[in-house]
């Protein structure tokens, strides 16, 4: 796979995070800081060109913050972000504009991410104007082809967002992201605001883009059925850290980290009378008071002596047969 970060520079990826950290100060007022909320705490990964890299985890695990950091929508506390070997943090002027064109985002809530006062035509031509990608005379043709690409009729271009359902709006958001021919699309929970029958329609569009237009995706979701269906590579996050990282087939076939196992077992199954879900004790701890040692140890069904004091590192399991995947657990990397 060659994409796992091993400290060196021996990997190729379209977008890479290296020891990315984002801490938010918490406390009452600017003079009385009580501590830091470690939303993202040392995350490293590399998404390969033309593939789908998924981040999964429960709410508050930092997956959306990672997306915002990668898009440079919020500055990291420390760490580096590389887009095709350029450090994204240092980009300015034209190179920043070029980066913005190459990396696009689709948000979770299509009701909040379209300007209600702009027609669909205006929404879809604004990126073309900003990046000077087409002449005015070509606008209509471009808009028509964008709309057709996401399965919408030509005549919708003169209408306003409020006239559309959630699924149609999400199609418009995808068309807007595609207007600038991006290389990678960050999709932050693009399906969770939609109904089940509409989710499948949008997922088919994304799958089609991946195959036909060979666009890479950084896909963020809490729905494991969708992640399994759509991803090539998966990183599982818990309390701001990646706890397991592997190819999708391997991760879903044989999860190594106890948290991954529980997450997979918690997902609803449609076979009636099948195996009952595994029920995990307790809640996700607050990211302000991260437990000592392994952050998952208070909820872990398999914890043992060193787990509450020594924090495991994310590395390849010591036992043979698990090449090119990483897990942060003492079960797999005893010391």
């Amino acid at each position: 796979m060659g994409t796992l970060h091993k400290g060196g520079r021996d990997f190729v990826g379209i977008i890479e995070a290296i020891e990315l950290k984002k801490y938010f100060p918490v406390g009452k007022g600017p003079f009385a800081r009580h501590g830091w909320l470690k939303a993202v705490d040392g995350v490293s990964f590399s998404a390969r060109s033309g593939t789908v890299f998924s981040l999964v985890g429960e709410s508050g695990c930092g997956k959306s913050t990672v997306a915002r950091l990668l898009l440079r929508l919020t500055p990291p506390t420390s760490g580096r972000i590389l887009f095709k070997d350029q450090n994204v943090i240092d980009l300015k002027g034209d190179s920043l504009k070029a980066f913005r064109k190459s990396v696009q985002i689709i948000f979770q809530d299509p009701f909040a991410s379209l300007n209600p006062r702009m027609t669909i035509f205006d929404t879809l031509t604004e990126p073309l104007k900003i990046h000077k990608l087409a002449r005015k005379s070509e606008f209509e043709e471009r808009v028509v082809s964008l709309l057709r690409g996401v399965g919408l009729q030509d005549e919708v271009m003169n209408r306003y967002p409020h006239e559309f359902s959630g699924g149609q709006r999400q199609r418009i958001c995808i068309a807007r992201a595609l207007a600038v021919s991006p290389e990678i699309i960050v999709a932050d929970e693009p399906l969770s605001a939609l109904d089940v029958s509409i989710q499948a329609q949008i997922l088919n569009i994304l799958q089609d883009l991946k195959q036909r237009a060979s666009i890479s995706f950084l896909f963020i979701s809490h729905d494991l059925r969708v992640v399994q269906y759509f991803s090539d590579e998966v990183a599982v996050m818990y309390l701001g850290k990646i706890v397991e990282h592997a190819k999708a087939d391997e991760l879903f076939g044989q999860p190594l980290h106890p948290y991954t196992s529980v997450l997979l077992a918690s997902a609803p199954k449609i076979k009636p009378g099948g195996a009952k879900r595994t029920v995990l004790k307790g809640d996700v701890p607050s990211p302000i008071h991260v437990p000592s040692g392994c952050p998952f140890h208070p909820r872990c069904p398999q914890r043992f002596t060193p787990c509450d004091t020594k924090e495991p590192r994310l590395e390849e399991p010591a036992s043979k047969g698990y090449k090119e995947r990483q897990v942060s657990c003492h079960l797999w990397n005893p010391f």
Partner: protein, 325 residues
Amino acid sequence: MSLLEIRDLSIAFTTTSRPLPVVNSLNFAIQEAEVFGLVGESGCGKSLTALAIMGLLPENARAEGTLSFRGRDLLTMHKESIRRLRGKEISMIFQEPMTSLNPVLTIGYQISEVITTHLGFSNKDAMERTIELLQAVKIPSPEIRVNEYPHQMSGGMRQRVMIAMGIACNPSLLIADEPTTALDVTIEAQILDLLGTLREERKMAVLLITHDIGVIAENADMAAIMYAGRIMELSNVSTVLENPKHPYTIGLLDSLPKARGIPLKPIKGAVPKPDALPDGCKFSDRCPFMITECLKEEPRLREVSPGQWARCIRAEEISWESSRQ
């Protein structure tokens, strides 16, 4: 006798021009100690049905038909009798535990209020009972937690508090409207597990309302699939999931992602607005099995095989397998 029997329930919103029907002659029955799953997408009328049972319909909604709860019609009952029933014999938990708890009262106060109101306990006894209830919903250190406010608890804990409030008077029917939609998967599993245990222990019936067919698969005995204010298919859960007979049920099952890379078969189009439903069968505009017959008149919900009811004239011809090609 069934615990709750719903006969020809129709709900319409009164608008300035004409009434807007949203639920159309619904018929189903919930037996004692049974988990009945009501599945449908947003806007199909499943939550309104729940609110009608609770007597909590908004001012501008009108309900017709019969809601017979142990032989008494909830729709014609006096407001005061409904108030005494609600929270005691029928109670409800909602999707969003944050907005359904009062932020300025301790959770202990909010739960014990139910007990003092309906069972006439003294404040002291009610508080003791509250602690037992918090124990029953598996909230750790309940003696301390009773004095906390909702903001001090996580989403899963708040939903446990809602459940404690719901079961405070040992109701015979608990309505759970999307109880886990706002929660993470590991917490969802906990809450569903808890509901299952409580139902066993207390022999209460549960009306489980959800959009996720996976949630009813593991937890319900019976399932009704709703679309556009109507029941499209009604049967026990395993029949619905293994041998669905209505094209909408088949569409929902086919929309779930399966093995990697296999193209999904979504239901085409979108849910129509309640004032723009097609003629005849209300699913006809999105149905892959539609024939001209379907547009003539709306099919009845009829028994297509013993114990399995479907609202489709072609139910015998179609099967899930034939739609998979």
